[in-house]
């Protein structure tokens, strides 16, 4: 995707968010029952922010038509999508699924080991190199899980999830 297209998509999203916030602020309870000053209604600043964001979104859309360089520049072209997807998925699964479902020690040991193994896995190598990668990842995973659990539970008195 080109940067200009990405900016246009963002402009639409931001416009909708801005509009939603402005409407949310406008329809928000004005607390008349509590006899507050009409200038201090809770929705005032959200209305202003919503309108400002919508204006910025329109300007952003307009700026994409005025900047030819943005039309040629690729969006997110200088990195590895595979590495990003693997990192994103493993981190999100750890944070939102494993933590809270498994005891913290095991969740962390599994996450760190798997993460390290994915990114150090030798594709075309001998059994020995693969065994070393697995061993290294497991040692790191358990060491980090043990160290972090002890630090937070014993030193900072945190009840681990």
């Amino acid at each position: 995707m080109r940067m200009a297209t990405a900016d246009r998509v963002t402009a639409v999203v931001l416009f909708v968010v801005g509009l939603a916030m402005a409407i949310g602020g406008w329809t928000m309870d004005r607390l008349e029952v509590r006899n507050i000053h009409p200038a201090s209604i809770p929705g005032l600043v959200p209305i202003i922010l919503g309108v400002l964001l919508a204006i910025c979104a329109v300007l952003l859309w307009y700026s994409t038509t005025k900047d030819p360089e943005r039309g040629t520049r690729e969006f997110m072209a200088d990195g590895s999508w595979l590495r990003l997807a693997l990192t994103g998925v493993s981190c999100v699964v750890y944070a939102l699924v494993l933590v809270g479902w498994l005891p913290f020690f095991w969740a962390t040991a599994v996450f760190v080991s798997v993460f390290a193994l994915i990114f150090t896995w030798p594709e075309r190598a001998e059994q020995k190199a693969r065994a070393l990668a697995i061993g290294g990842a497991l040692v790191l995973g358990f060491a980090v899980a043990f160290g972090v659990s002890i630090l937070f539970e014993q030193a900072f008195l945190v009840r681990l999830p």
Binding site: L14, S40, A57, L84, T87, F111, F115, V148, F152, F156
Partner: protein, 507 residues
């Protein structure tokens, strides 16, 4: 003068074995965090905040300041050796540092960067003890009208100066931060806004989970997404790493000027170390006798950039302590940490805790000394740190992001916030939206909201006092000028006017 006396007394009080122990380890961790590309000072300070909940408040703040100073300095290691700034603050350092390393003078370049950082921080500490107390006193006269404009000024200037491509993206980031601050119970009538029936949102979005997400998780994603740099492979031929006194004397004016520029940049809300470094670098180049050497291995350029970025650290604490308006993204986390440890930054600090400013300055002096010692003694050792594979480092960082976020309130919901801000932060970074205004928006949202509505209540709905009180009028004019100067048609009109003026003069 009394500021310096207070500084001496605070320094003396801090000289205990326990304090020195904490300075020693936190500075080392700070330099390591800063030297690893992908881990920034803000992330380091945010993560360290989660590790210092249980420490005594003075020690916790000392540890956080050491982390901040160390990480900004540590960024120069990878900038010189990898041509990848460890933190954005060291981008200008890599321009001259990397060519020097390739020419086999990496050791000496790192020594000079250390000396520059030490001088820059010391100049800025002096300015901190001189400027902060009178600024806090002046701010005592600020009312709701002035605080409203101060918050707007912070967002506008930060959005303008930190944006990569167009200031518009900086403004948008700032507005998004302010919007995030609108979630939860508001400060005047305790009405819950935009919680969507989720009880956990009633208290709003906490700053630490948001910061750990935007700077921790987003940086893990960015680091794994990017390709890594290659260590400058040329064998180091520097005969020494400690800079000659003669060299330091040669750069005395550059160092002092860069220190002052860095401090002033630090005072501007939400602008940060990278701008401090670039501004000092540009000023040094403009006045140099050898401007053509800049960018190809100039010692002067290296010294200016490193002095400039280090001076921003104490500079950014000036508004953070006296106005509760952060001078940089890391200072925003520090403000949150101050609150966690029972310190209320703002104009009342000189009444509630008059010794706090000199105490912070003394902590910065200790941090600077530790930075100088580590920087000169362990120059070559830090090269080893840069060889740690990301595959081992990043899962550890993310584990700390998760547990550190959870530890504050022991709520799983905070982890969800952290992940959400991490994903949002990554996408926004890729689309060239700066993170500093977003953070500033989250921290200033409450101040802006309360000040506007309180001001309007005081004036019975009349907007006039927002524009007629002298300080308010000044802020309003500054904001208007800085926004107008970014509008293309205003700039075109101005350049036409200037061109016409020149032609008339020549005729």
């Amino acid at each position: 003068m009394s500021g310096l006396v207070d500084l001496g007394a605070s320094l003396w009080a801090l000289l205990t074995p326990m304090t020195l122990f904490h300075v020693a380890w936190s500075m080392l961790v700070g330099i390591i965090v800063g030297s690893l590309p992908g881990l920034t000072a803000t992330m380091g300070v945010a993560l360290m905040t989660t590790l210092t909940y249980s420490l005594d408040s003075e020690l916790a703040i000392l540890v956080l300041l050491c982390m901040y100073v160390g990480a900004i300095y540590g960024g120069s290691r990878s900038a010189i050796l990898l041509n990848i700034p460890g933190t954005p603050a060291s981008a200008a350092t890599s321009l001259d540092g990397y060519p020097l390393a390739r020419a086999g003078k990496g050791g000496y370049a790192m020594g000079l960067a250390t000396a520059g950082s030490v001088i820059g921080t010391l100049v800025a500490i002096l300015m901190l003890v001189m400027i902060a107390p009178p600024l806090a006193e002046a701010a005592m006269n600020f009312g709701s009208f002035e605080f409203f404009w101060l918050a707007v000024f912070g967002i506008v200037i930060s959005g303008q100066l930190t944006a990569d491509t167009t200031p518009l993206k900086g403004y948008i980031a700032g507005i998004l931060g302010l919007m995030a601050a609108m979630v939860g119970s508001e400060g005047l009538h305790a009405h819950v806004r935009f919680s969507f029936g989720i009880d956990d949102l009633n208290a709003g979005i906490a700053l630490i989970p948001a910061m750990v997400g935007a700077f921790g998780f987003a940086e893990v994603l960015t680091a794994m997404w990017n390709r890594r740099g290659v260590l400058a492979s040329t064998k180091d031929k520097s005969d020494r790493t400690i800079p000659r006194l003669l060299d330091l004397w040669r750069f005395k004016w550059i160092s002092i000027r860069s220190g002052i520029i860095g401090t002033l940049v630090g005072i501007i809300p939400g602008v940060g170390e990278d701008i401090g470094a670039w501004a000092s670098y540009a000023a040094a180049r403009r006045t140099s006798k050898e401007p053509d050497k800049y960018g190809s291995g100039s010692y002067e350029g290296l010294a200016a950039a490193e002095t400039g970025n280090s001076a921003v650290v104490p500079g950014s604490l000036i508004p953070a302590i006296t106005l509760a308006v952060p001078g940089s993204a890391s200072a925003a986390v520090l403000i949150a940490a101050f609150f966690i440890h029972g310190i209320r930054p703002g104009p009342l600090i000189m009444i509630e805790q008059p010794e706090f400013i000199s105490s912070v300055a003394a902590m910065l002096v200790l941090a600077t000394i530790a930075m100088g010692i580590y920087g000169l003694a362990l120059t070559r050792v830090f090269i080893l740190v840069l060889k740690v594979p990301y595959a081992y480092l990043m899962p550890v960082v993310f584990t700390l992001c998760v547990i550190g976020t959870y530890a504050l309130s022991q709520r799983i919901f905070d982890i969800v916030i952290m992940v959400g801000f991490g994903l949002l932060g990554f996408v926004l970074r890729q689309m060239k939206y700066p993170m500093a205004p977003l953070v500033l928006g989250i921290i200033l949202g409450d101040l802006l909201d309360k000040s506007l509505r309180r001001g309007l209540t005081l004036s019975d709905g009349d907007l006039t006092p927002f524009f007629t009180r002298p300080v308010s009028a000044g802020f309003a004019a500054l904001i208007l000028i800085s926004v107008m100067l970014n509008l293309p048609f205003v700039r075109r009109g101005l350049s036409r006017l200037i061109g016409r003026g020149r032609r008339t003069k020549n005729a």
